[in-house]
């Protein structure tokens, strides 16, 4: 009964947030200087063509009206079509005089559907790597606060967080790909192409895990109930593994939700560097090409995913620590 109430409330809030976000992006795109239509038909196109294209795409109508129509179509599951990309996949636009808006455009939903799985794959692998790096060292640092594992975690975290991800990508490419030839880097022709980008992302995520875990594990170990375990007859090992870690994971979960949007930024850049055909690369190109519907669709989708992930994370945290149910 409680669960249902919580879910309904959070979903309602989430829907509101998604709405706000899409409105914001929608407005921003149309308000910021620069003309998308001109970008599409080419800088050389005569004004009449621009005018006509603009009318057909509905870009000359007042913004609230445009947004209303967009929402209506959205509810029917139609995210519209890309301004720029034709159905056959290639990306067009540029300086030639052309009116690509006449040809059949790729559907936004379709484009997203193609690229999302790859990005999810990248994110999952990066997550695994980050946990492998961060969790053992973080726990060790917390259990031995002040001594060398802690210091190692501290320095490692500080260095990792100072590495610009694009630079690390370049360096790793030079080392592992060019010089040693172990792993391929650019593009995608198989799962192994995910490894290098995932590694760069993992280095970006790891410091957060390290920092949070060392602090929360150390804090929990200072709690009275850990100490009390000894006099109650429960061995220290059992106290640590069954109780301390459980308590320490909650702050990690809590902060994870906040970190999420920063992580997306990393995904964007990493996919761009490695030419990894995921949602991030799609986004970067869409923005640079002023492909409104695509940008809009991606924004709506990503904020929806964020909202869902946040809800899931909160649920898991509340399951572990029932005091959070408020």
């Amino acid at each position: 009964m409680y669960f249902l109430g919580f879910l309904v409330r959070r979903l309602a809030q989430g829907a509101l947030i998604v709405l706000l976000v899409s409105l914001l992006i929608f407005t921003l795109l149309r308000v910021v200087p620069g003309d998308p239509v001109r970008l599409m038909v080419g800088g050389m196109a005569p004004d009449s063509v621009v005018q006509e294209a603009s009318e057909r795409l509905g870009l000359n109508q007042p913004i609230p009206l445009q947004f209303g129509r967009y929402l209506l179509r959205l509810i029917h599951g139609d995210m519209g079509e890309s301004f720029v990309r034709p159905a056959n996949g290639a990306s067009v636009g540029g300086s030639t005089f052309d009116d690509p808006s006449r040809a059949e455009r790729a559907s936004v939903l379709g484009l997203v559907g193609q690229t999302l799985p790859l990005t999810l794959q990248l994110a999952a692998l990066a997550f695994v790597f980050a946990l492998l790096i961060g969790v053992p060292l973080g726990i060790a640092g917390g259990l031995h606060a002040g001594r060398w594992p802690d210091k190692l975690a501290f320095y490692a975290g500080s260095v990792f967080v100072s590495l610009p991800n694009f630079w690390l990508g370049i360096v790793l490419t030079i080392l592992l790909s060019v010089q040693l030839g172990w792993i391929p880097s650019i593009g995608y022709q198989g799962f192994v192409y995910t490894v290098l980008p995932a590694l760069v992302l993992a280095v970006e995520m790891a410091p957060f895990i390290l920092r949070t875990l060392t602090v929360s594990v150390a804090q929990v170990m200072n709690e009275p109930f850990i100490d009390a375990g000894a006099v109650r007859g429960i061995g220290r090992r059992q106290m640590v593994w069954r109780h301390a870690l459980r308590n320490a994971s909650v702050p990690l979960l809590n902060l994870f939700g906040i970190q999420l949007s920063g992580l997306l930024g990393g995904v964007l850049v990493v996919e761009y560097i490695f030419d990894y055909p995921g949602l991030g690369l799609l986004t970067v190109n869409a923005v640079l090409q002023r492909d409104f519907p695509l940008i809009q669709g991606i924004a709506v989708l990503t904020s929806a995913i964020f909202v869902l992930i946040n809800i899931v994370v909160d649920l898991i945290a509340a399951t572990i620590d029932p005091r959070l149910e408020s």
Binding site: R232, G233, G235
Partner: protein
């Protein structure tokens, strides 16, 4: 005593800090010095001492659980002949209950499984189902109602008293022969503590354990112990049977300890200068009429419902000029909420509060601000109530600046004058209050309020964190201030002994209501409400009890304020409850002028007592 087998044998025990990490032997401190004591089965030894005497160190040493940085330098602690140190005995033969029950278990795991976990850790062959059965049985033995349901509840869902019972169950689950109870009643309310003590005695009988009862409260230890050991600075000063020790203490320190316990029941106890409320014909300085406050808390189990917490229910009383009125009650009774409303930090949902004839609700913000200097509030915590980083002079002078009453030299004059009045060394006016004691800090608080020349002072547990000596001194100060300025006092407190000393009239609160209002003498002689009676019976005291706790208080805890039952709120713990008590809420029965009790069975007092 000698025919019982010896459980615990402590011989010439000395414990010191190891100074680990600093590397210098010169900084070692001796915390326990040559302590010898013995405990037999089914006996209770009480160890008493003031704070800093080393009680907890000793308790932990007896359990073999010395914290890091401490080590046994000489002597030994033997349990049934075996050395105690080490994990072999803990949780099994020796159980330990500490002073902070709410933080003794993992907050993210339900209590039942945690106790079961402990059982299976100390007795390896116990299976899961069997463990659960044993835990349920023990939860019932410590009188936790509905053990099946509470088995799966989390520590934060238990009140302090209930959690202490859980920890007692946890200590007993390993079938120990020895229990170490370290200050177990310290954080608890008086009536709850009385119940826990009673429970402890019954368990000792039932299970035959020996108990070392460590406490800072001499009266409390005397009630449970067969033998008392007095500890001072780590040394045993005196030992003996409680009655004997109290009547004829041999050592001066013990004599001092006994003297410091305030008397409550003798007629001298309320020999305050103004014991009788002065009959006033003019308007009261504070007039509280039918004040109520409800908090709305979201109901977590439903989507959009709220719980109503009725923190204060229909409270009415008046305070005449120059009186000293006490408002007493245990935690959850609503006195803090009432205090906030008395000083208009929160507004009542219904009812009115008049100060000096003016209805506070009718004032504008500006008028209220202008009126504030006249009724001031003093808080409990002397350390946190003072803003950090300011000198004494600045702290005391700030109210003058806020209300623009004085500036520059004139302000400083007033600050110095008021410092002198409250007994603060005037030379320290430009220093930070860092090294000051609790008592001195409270004086700063008092000075800060006094500089505004108030007519009414509300003291919210102001003296609760001070020791007896400081309390006496400050009470004397209040008396003098009354004589010089005609101040009126309202004391909010849970400390009945203090209220007995200084208040001319007392209001007893329970679950948001004033269940009894009476003169000092009348309340302590012949309380009209069963709760007042229960409260008085639970006060730990060295004198003979006029009220027997066993007869005044039943098992059980106050009902949750969210879920107030119909009828009298005390009915579930009242030994005299009848059917009608559970059906209707009792009205106030007058027992004298300005005295009443909300109970169907309250009879009118002897008329001369009421005056």
């Amino acid at each position: 005593m000698q025919d019982q087998p010896v459980l615990l044998d402590v011989q010439h025990l000395s414990i010191e800090t190891t100074g680990a990490g600093r590397g210098s032997a010169a900084t070692r401190r001796t915390l326990i010095d040559d302590v010898t004591l013995q405990l037999a089965e089914r006996r209770v030894v009480g160890v008493i001492g003031e704070s800093g005497a080393g009680k907890t160190v000793l308790a932990r040493a007896l359990a073999g659980w010395l914290p890091d940085g401490l080590a046994v330098r000489a002597g030994h602690v033997r349990y049934k002949g075996r050395e105690v140190v080490g994990p072999a005995l803990q949780g099994r033969e020796i159980g330990y209950i500490g002073a902070d029950p709410t933080r003794a278990l993992d907050p993210t795991v339900p209590i039942g499984p945690q106790i079961a976990e402990k059982l299976r850790a100390v007795q390896l062959r116990v299976g899961a189902a069997e463990a659960r059965e044993k835990v349920l049985a023990l939860l019932a033995a410590v009188r936790i109602p509905a053990p099946q349901k509470r088995y799966l509840e989390y520590p934060f869902q238990f009140s302090g008293g209930m959690m202490q019972r859980v920890m007692i169950a946890d200590a007993l689950i390993g079938d120990p022969a020895l229990l170490i109870a370290d200050n177990i009643t310290q954080p608890l309310d008086v009536t709850v503590a009385a119940q826990i003590l009673r429970l402890l005695r019954e368990l000792v009988e039932q299970f035959g354990t020996g108990v070392v009862f460590v406490s800072a409260s001499l009266p409390m230890a005397s009630e449970v112990a067969d033998e008392l050991v007095v500890l001072q600075s780590g040394r045993v000063i005196e030992r003996g049977e409680p009655g004997h020790l109290v009547r004829a203490p041999a050592e001066p320190y013990t004599r001092d300890l006994v003297l410091k316990i305030p008397e409550i029941w003798t007629s001298k106890a309320s020999a305050i200068a103004r014991s009788a409320p002065v009959a006033r014909s003019d308007a009261p300085i504070l007039n509280v009429q039918h004040v109520s406050k409800i908090y709305r808390v979201r109901d977590r189990t439903a989507f959009n419902r709220v719980h109503e917490v009725r923190a204060v229910r229909d409270v009415s009383f008046t305070v005449s000029r120059g009186e000293s009125v006490g408002i007493v009650g245990e935690s959850g009774c609503g006195k803090s909420t009432l205090t906030r409303m008395l000083t208009w930090l929160e507004t009542p949902d219904s009812g009115s509060i008049e100060f000096d004839g003016r209805d506070l609700r009718a004032l504008t913000a500006r008028q209220l601000r202008a009126l504030r200097p006249q009724f001031q509030l003093l808080l409990q915590d002397p350390y946190n109530a003072l803003p950090a980083g300011r000198t004494i002079g600045e702290i005391i002078g700030e109210p003058l600046a806020i209300h623009r009453l004085a500036r520059g030299r004139e302000a400083r004059e007033r600050v110095l004058q008021v410092m002198h009045e409250v007994g603060l060394p005037v030379g320290q006016v430009d220093e930070l209050p860092v090294s000051m004691s609790a008592g001195q800090r409270q004086r700063i608080n008092i000075a800060r309020a006094l500089v505004l020349e108030p007519k009414l002072m509300v003291l919210d547990e102001t003296l609760s964190s001070l020791d007896q000596v400081e309390q006496s001194r400050l009470l004397g100060l209040f008396e003098r201030l009354y004589q010089q300025h005609g101040l009126t006092y309202v004391y909010i407190s849970h400390d009945l002994a203090m209220v007995r000393r200084v208040c001319s009239r007392v209001a007893v609160m329970y679950l948001g209501e004033v269940v009894e209002l009476a003169t000092n003498e009348a309340l302590f002689r012949d309380p009209g409400h069963p709760y007042s009676r229960a409260l008085l019976s639970a006060i730990p005291t060295l004198e003979p009890h006029p009220f027997d706790a066993r007869q005044c208080l039943l098992e059980g805890e106050p009902p949750s304020p969210i879920d107030l039952p119909v009828g009298c709120g005390f009915a579930n713990r009242c030994p005299r409850a009848e059917a009608r008590c559970r059906e209707r809420s009792p009205e106030a029965v007058q027992r004298g002028p300005q005295s009443y009790a909300r109970c169907f069975m309250a009879e009118a007092l002897y008329p001369e007592m009421a005056q």
